[in-house]
Symmetry: C2
Subunit: 478 residues, 2 copies
C-alpha cells in the first residue's frame, strides 16, 4: 500500500508541476486529432504511390496531404505495442517493458508510473479520449482511463482475437474471447459486446462516430480536446464493414483501405463543419510496416520488409499532418522523425512540459512540422526487435547488427555488420560497409549514448506490477 | 540486285500511298519530341516516388508530369533493343529479328524493309532527327538515316563500350572501340570521335544542345519536326558530365539522374522560348527496367525486378506526356499502354496511316492520351525475353510461364503457371493461380491470337540481310 500511495503522491506532485509549467507558457491549446492506422504499410495510400495501383483509391487522405505536411521518413518501432508505447510515452519500448506485443493472456501494459501524452494534455485542461485499439494494458489499472484518458471505447488488445470463433476446435474455456470495451475516468471499464468477426467489421465505423461526437461535444463546451483515434484497419483479419464489402471489386483488403479513407474523410468533414479547421491539428499515421498475413497482405511499396523486421518497409510509415494556417500546405520532407517524437512535439504544441525524471527518447519536432525549420532535431535512432538491437539508422545510412529479411526466415546474428546507403539502395540489397567504415563512428556513438541512458535510468522490467516505481538517482522517488 | 530494286520499288509505292492517305487527313502536324531515357527504372523520378528519396531531385520532369499526363502502367519490352524496335516499328521484337540486344560484333539492326515512325513522319512532311542512342543497326544501310531520319548524331550501340579502355588487358585489335557518329540522309554516316569515358560523360549534353538547335532551325523554317531523343543516361557506366560531378553529394548515379532532369528542363525551356509550347508534344519515358550493374544500381521503386525479367519492375517504366491545350494537365492513369502503341499513336496524331502488309502490335492510344477516353484500347500484351514467352499480362493479372526473379539466377520453366493479381500483390510474391484459373481463358486467347499473326506474317529471321523482303500472302511482294 505504501508504494501505491507513494505513486499517487508522485502523480499529484507531477500534475501540479505541470500546471505551473503550463501557466507559464503561451495559452494556445490547439485541438489534436491523432489517427493511427493499424499495419498500414508505406505503399497503400495514393500519395505514397499506392491508391489506384492497389485498386484502392484514397482521395481523402491524399487531399489531406496536399493540404498539409507529409513525411517520407517517419519511423516507428517494429511492431504494434512498442510503437504505441513510443507515441504515448515518448520512450522507446525497450525502456518500458512493453517491447513485444504480448501473446494471449500474457502480462502486458504500461505500468501506471509511465506518463502518457494523455496525462500531460489532461493536466493542461484538455478533454481526452481514445476510440479504437489501445494494446497497452488489458485490465483495470492499465486501461486508457487509468493513463490520462477521460473516456475510451474500443479494444484493449488486437484484432486477431476476432477470428477465435472461426477457428477449428476453438474452446472458450481455455482461451476466452475479447470484448469491445467502454470506460470513463474514475469508473470501471465495461464490456460492451464480444469482439467477434461482426464486431471487427463494424468497429471503425463506431470509432469514427464516437470521435465526431466527442469533438462536437467539446466544441459546444469550448474545451480543447485530444482525440486519439487508433483505427483497427488494416490489421488482419482485414474485413470491411458490410457497407464497404465489394466496394472496389478488388477484395477485402482494398475495400478496407477505401473504408479507412472514408472514415478519415468523415473526421475531416466534421472538423470543417464544426468550424474548428484552423484550431485543430490532424495527424494520420500507422503503427508499423505492412500486414503480411495471407490473404491480407499489404505492401511497403518503395521499400522492402514488413513489421518485425528493421528494413525500411518496416520502419517507415505514412505520416501526414494537416493544420491550416499553421502547417504549410503541400510540403514534403525526407527528414528523420520517430514515433517517440510525437509525445514531445504534441506536448510542446499544447504548452506542456515533459517529465525530467526519466529517459525520454522523443525530441521536439514542432519546428519541422510547422515549417519553421527544414531540418529534423534528430539524426537517427536505434531499431529494436523485442529487446535486441537489430540496426541503427543515421542520416541516410543504416547499419544492421542482426539481419532479418522476412519473418518466415530466422534472424541472423551477423559476424560482420551490414551497411546500406538508403538513398542509393532503398531495398537494402548491397552491403557497402567495407568501403564506408567511417559510418561506424556515429553509429557507435549513438549506441553508447543510448546505453548510458539505460544505465542511468534502468528500464521497467516486463511484467512489473502496478506498484512499480523506479529507485534510480534522479527519480522522483528519492 | 533484283531483290534490292524490288525493295526500293516497294518503298516508293508505300511512301506514295502514305502521301495520299495523309492528304485525306486533317492537316494538323504537331511537333513531336520523344525523350527516351536509358535503363531508368520506375523508382527514380520524384513523381514516381523517388527523387528526394533517391538523393536525386527531379523537379523539371515532376513539373512536366503535373502539366501533363502520367501513365502508371506504360509497358516496355524486357531490354533495350526490343523496346526501341517496338517504339520505331510498332512491332514486338519477336517479329523483327531484333529480340535481343546483340553482343559486340554480332549481326544486328532492323532490316530496311521495316517501316519506322520516322519514315511515316518524314513522308508526312516532318523534319526528322535522332540525337542519342540508336541501337537498331551499327553499319551503313541500318543507321537512322537509312530508316527515315534526316539526320542523326550519337551512338549506334550501347554505352558499355565506353569502358573498354579501362578494362584490364583490353586489345583494340580484337575488339575495336565504338565511335560517336554523325549522319545526314543520302550521305554516309561519319565517325566523330571515340566513344570513351569522356565522350560518355558528355554525350547527353551534346544530344540536348543538338535537339534544341534542330527545333530552333525547324521553327525558323516553319517545318513540323520529330525529334527522337534517346538519352544515354542512366545506363552503366552511369557517369555524369564534369559539370554535374558531385552535384548531389550522393554519388555518380544520383548526379546523372539530376543531370537528366536538367537536360529535359532545357528542352522544355527551349520549347517555351521558341513559342511552340502548344504545338509540341513532349514525351518522356524509358526503354526498360532499372539498371542493376554495380555500383550503378537503379530501382524499380514500387515494383520488383530489373530488365531481362518480366516482373512489373521490368515492364513498367515512367511515361509522361505534355502537350498544353491538348493533353489535360495533372491526369494520371493506370491503364495498360505498350511501347509499340507509340508508333501507331504518333502516326495517328500526325495524320499518317500505318502499314497494312504486316503485323502491327501497337494500337492507337491517342484517345487515352488526349483525355478523350478513360480506357486503353488494349487489355494486355505478351512479354518475351529473347524469343521465349515468359508471361502474359491481362488487365490486373499476370500469368508467368517462365519464372525469373533476378538475372543472377537462371530462369525456371514452370511446371505449373503462376498467376499474380498485380493490384493486390504488386511484387508478385504469392501465386494465386489455383483459385483463379478462369484467368487462363483470356490469357490463352491472347496467345492464340498472337500465334495466328505469327503464322500469317512470319517473323523476320535474326541476321537477315538488307535485301530481306517477306514472301507471305498479303505482303506487297506478291
Amino acid at each position: 500500500m505504501l508504494a501505491k500511495l507513494t505513486r499517487s503522491t508522485i502523480s499529484l506532485i507531477w500534475i501540479l508541476s505541470l500546471c505551473n509549467a503550463a501557466i507559464a507558457q503561451e495559452t494556445s491549446k490547439p485541438n489534436i486529432v491523432f489517427v493511427l492506422a493499424d499495419n498500414l504499410g508505406w505503399g497503400e495510400l495514393g500519395v505514397y504511390g499506392g491508391g489506384e495501383l492497389r485498386g484502392a483509391p484514397t482521395p481523402r487522405i491524399d487531399q489531406m496531404a496536399s493540404e498539409g505536411f507529409r513525411l517520407q521518413n517517419f519511423n516507428v518501432e517494429t511492431e504494434c505495442v512498442p510503437t504505441r508505447t513510443a507515441l504515448m510515452t515518448g520512450r522507446q519500448a525497450i525502456r518500458t517493458g512493453t517491447y513485444r506485443s504480448p501473446g494471449a493472456g500474457q502480462p502486458n501494459g504500461l505500468v501506471p508510473w509511465e506518463v502518457t501524452i494523455a496525462e500531460l494534455l489532461s493536466a493542461r485542461g484538455y478533454a481526452t479520449a481514445l476510440y479504437g485499439k489501445w494494446h497497452l494494458g488489458d485490465r483495470e489499472g492499465r486501461y486508457p482511463t487509468n493513463q490520462g484518458f477521460d473516456e475510451w471505447y474500443g479494444i484493449s488488445g488486437t484484432s486477431d482475437v476476432s477470428l477465435y470463433r472461426t477457428s477449428i476446435g476453438y474452446d472458450e474455456k481455455v482461451a476466452p474471447p475479447d470484448y469491445v470495451l467502454e470506460g470513463h475516468k474514475g469508473q470501471k471499464t465495461q464490456q460492451v459486446k464480444e469482439y467477434d468477426i461482426e464486431a471487427r467489421r463494424g468497429i471503425d465505423t463506431e470509432i469514427t462516430k464516437r470521435t465526431i461526437a466527442f469533438m462536437r461535444r467539446n466544441v459546444l463546451e469550448k474545451k480543447p480536446f485530444y482525440a486519439y483515434v487508433p483505427l483497427t484497419q488494416v490489421h488482419f483479419p482485414t474485413l470491411p464493414s458490410h457497407e464497404f464489402e465489394g466496394k472496389t471489386g478488388n477484395g477485402d483488403f482494398a475495400d478496407s483501405v477505401v473504408e479507412t479513407d472514408y472514415h478519415v474523410g468523415q473526421i475531416l468533414d466534421a472538423i470543417k463543419e464544426l468550424g474548428i479547421d484552423k484550431d485543430t491539428m490532424v495527424i494520420f499515421t500507422s503503427d508499423n510496416g505492412p500486414e503480411f498475413r495471407r490473404p491480407w497482405q499489404g505492401t511497403a511499396g518503395y521499400w522492402r520488409g514488413t513489421y518485425y523486421t528493421v528494413l525500411e518497409g518496416s520502419l517507415r510509415t505514412p505520416f501526414i499532418m494537416r493544420w491550416p494556417d499553421h502547417v504549410p500546405a503541400g510540403r514534403v520532407s525526407n527528414e528523420i522523425v520517430h514515433a517517440s517524437d510525437m509525445f514531445t512535439t504534441l506536448a510542446h504544441l499544447a504548452g506542456s512540459d515533459i517529465p525530467h525524471d526519466r529517459a525520454i527518447d522523443g525530441v521536439d519536432e514542432s519546428g519541422l512540422l510547422l515549417g519553421k525549420k527544414d531540418k529534423s532535431n534528430r539524426d537517427g535512432f536505434l531499431a529494436f526487435v523485442g529487446e535486441d538491437l537489430y540496426a541503427v539508422k543515421w542520416r541516410n545510412w543504416k547499419v544492421h547488427f542482426i539481419w532479418l529479411e522476412d519473418v518466415t526466415h530466422g534472424p541472423i546474428k551477423l559476424p560482420e555488420r551490414y551497411a546500406f546507403n538508403l538513398l542509393r539502395d532503398p531495398k537494402e540489397e548491397t552491403d557497402v560497409m567495407s568501403s564506408n567504415t567511417w559510418i561506424e563512428r556515429p553509429i557507435f556513438t549513438m549506441i553508447d549514448k543510448f546505453n548510458t541512458t539505460l544505465k542511468q535510468y534502468p528500464p521497467v522490467p516486463p511484467g512489473s506490477p502496478d506498484t512499480y516505481t523506479p529507485t534510480y538517482k534522479g527519480s522522483l522517488e528519492k
